[in-house]
Structures are given as structure tokens and as C-alpha cells.
């Protein structure tokens, strides 16, 4: 599984990097992100859901399944 450590990457650059990574994987494939608490953990999962992907959050890890 593709994993990205986005700790220390503020909004919206964390989502920019995640989106570009999502462009490179196939539908149905997961992308796992490690995010800082606070705004990144609130904002990135929300943006991913708005783009239509499946999102699960476990602690500071966010798994996005591309749709």
C-alpha cells in the first residue's frame, strides 16, 4: 500500500500532495496518510470525501480508497 508521511506539511499542501498521489493509483487502491493532529486531521479526510473517495480514520492515520 502506498503510504505518505505528511506530518509537518500544513494545509492545503498536505491535500495537494495527497491528491497528486491519488492521481497515480488505480480506482479501488488505498493510499495511507499520516497527518498532524488539528486542522490536517479535520480537513484532509473531509476534502477526500468531497472528492468522492472512501475514507477511514484510525488515530493519526487516514486511509483513502480511490473512487
Amino acid at each position: 500500500m502506498r503510504e505518505m508521511d505528511l506530518t509537518g506539511v500544513p494545509c492545503p499542501m498536505n491535500w495537494v500532495r495527497a491528491r497528486l498521489a491519488l492521481e497515480e493509483i488505480e480506482d479501488g487502491e488505498p493510499l495511507e496518510l499520516v497527518l498532524d493532529p488539528g486542522e490536517p486531521m479535520r480537513s484532509v479526510p473531509l476534502s477526500a470525501r468531497e472528492d468522492g473517495h472512501d475514507v477511514t480514520v484510525t488515530g493519526n492515520r487516514v486511509t483513502i480508497v480511490k473512487r
Binding site: 492545503p12 499542501m13 495537494v16 500532495r17 491528491r19 497528486l20 492521481e23 476534502s47
Partner: protein, 257 residues
């Protein structure tokens, strides 16, 4: 993905748009535009194209910056009076975005040199202030199959239309012949409000970005008229003319290019 960290940051606020993508950004970086005119329409149009990350922009203008230009041409500042507009625009656009290659053409575009200038462009944004240039640009774009965004402004009104030669109505389909020279007030004689030109030039840049990236629905087979006084926006349908002197003979090979 080959966008650099600096590009990711520069373009981050468009890269987060659901309608945008890294692929669209890379496509822009591989694209070349010609902006005809570095004045009231060309200033905002070229500015937004450079800012958005075009690979290359050619700016065509034969005039020098004059004091009376400055109220409507925001690429040119007071200390720039007397400079060549094309070259001054290039300096400003490079300063705005050094990732963009900007080529100034300090020449008047006419039927004699239009095809030479337009060749190789992926889109042309016509911000010219004369009908002679407008028809020359349209004819060259049709002959070469290069998409075109026409724009014009006069007084508090403006209009824009996007053209995909061979597929949609061209400028000459909508306006088969230029009006008689006596009936046309040029910008030199008639008034223009800078903010109205800013709206029209910005729409032209947006339409060029749409044609280059496939974003949204381009303003083709329609002419948008804007009345700045009332803010009424009117879409007027246009259609191809089978006997159009510009686009009826566009080669299939040019259309796919």
C-alpha cells in the same frame, strides 16, 4: 508526477480544486499561448495565463506604453512609459512567474505575419484593438487549426467568444465582414473603463485555460456580451457558416492538431 516542490506550492490553490489536477497542471506547463495585444485585455489575460503556469506565452504588441494607457492596462506602470509594451509585459510576466517562458513580439500582427506568429501555439487569445488584426488572427487560427479566444471591449460593454476551428463557429462566422472603417470608433477615440476590460480579459484567460485543460464547458458557439453598467450578461448563439471564408475549408488534419 514531475511537478517540483516550488510548482506544487505556487499552484497549490488551483491544484486543490476538484476540477483541477496535477495532470491539468502538467498539460498547462507543456502548452504555448499567443496573446495578441498587451493592453487593456491582454494585461489581465496574459497575467492570469502566466500565473496559472503556462509553459510559454508569446506577447504581441507594436505600441509603446503611454500615460493614457495606464488606467486600463495593469501590466504597465507609470515608470514604464515609453517602453515597448510587448517587452515590458514580458518583464512583468517573468517576474510574476519565472517558470514561464515569455517571448515578446514587438510587431503589429497582420495578415502578412499572423500565421508565422500563431504557428506552434496551442491557443491564441486575441486582445487586439482593431478589426484588421482580429480578422487576421481568426483567419490564421482557422488555417492552422489553433483554438482561439476572441475578446473586445468598448465603453462599459464587452464580448467574448471561444473558437475551435473546424468544429465551432469562428469570428468570421459570427461577423462575416468587418464594419466600415468610418463606423468603428477605436479605443483611441472611444472611452473604455479599465475594470470592464479586466472582466473581459479575465474571462478570456479562463476560456483559454478551459480549452487547454478540458475543464468545464468552453464558450463555443456562443458569444457572451457583458454590460458593465447593468451587469447583465447575455449569451448569444452563433453557428458555423458553410460558406465561411475562414473556417469552411479547415483541413481535418488541422482540426485534430
Amino acid at each position: 508526477m514531475t511537478l517540483t516542490d516550488s510548482e506544487l506550492e505556487r499552484y497549490s490553490r488551483q491544484l486543490v480544486l476538484p476540477e483541477w489536477s496535477g495532470e491539468a497542471q502538467e498539460r498547462l506547463r507543456g502548452s504555448s499561448a499567443i496573446v495578441v495585444g498587451a493592453g487593456a485585455l491582454g494585461s489581465p489575460a496574459a497575467t492570469y495565463l502566466a500565473a496559472a503556469g503556462l509553459g510559454r506565452i508569446g506577447v504581441v504588441d507594436s505600441d509603446d506604453v503611454e500615460l493614457s494607457n495606464l488606467h486600463r492596462q495593469p501590466l504597465h506602470y507609470t515608470p514604464d512609459i515609453g517602453l515597448r509594451k510587448a517587452e515590458n509585459a514580458a518583464v512583468k510576466l517573468r517576474a510574476l512567474n519565472p517558470e514561464v517562458e515569455v517571448d515578446p513580439y514587438p510587431a503589429r500582427l497582420g495578415s502578412d505575419n499572423a500565421e508565422t506568429i500563431v504557428t506552434g501555439a496551442d491557443v491564441v487569445v486575441d486582445c487586439a484593438d482593431s478589426f484588421e488584426t482580429r480578422y487576421a488572427v481568426n483567419d490564421a487560427c482557422c488555417a492552422l487549426g489553433v483554438p482561439l479566444v476572441e475578446g473586445a471591449v468598448l465603453g462599459l460593454g464587452g464580448q467574448v467568444m471561444a473558437i475551435v476551428p473546424g468544429q465551432t463557429a469562428c469570428y468570421r462566422c459570427a461577423f462575416p465582414a468587418p464594419p466600415s472603417p468610418e463606423s468603428v470608433p477605436s479605443c483611441r477615440e472611444a472611452g473604455v473603463l479599465g475594470a470592464v476590460a479586466g472582466i473581459v480579459g479575465s474571462i478570456q484567460a479562463l476560456e483559454a485555460l478551459k480549452l487547454l485543460t478540458g475543464l468545464g464547458t468552453p464558450l463555443v458557439d456562443r458569444l457572451l456580451h457583458i454590460d458593465g453598467a447593468t451587469m447583465e450578461h447575455t449569451l448569444i448563439a452563433t453557428e458555423r457558416r458553410e460558406d465561411c471564408a475562414s473556417c469552411s475549408r479547415v483541413a481535418a488534419s488541422a482540426q485534430s492538431g
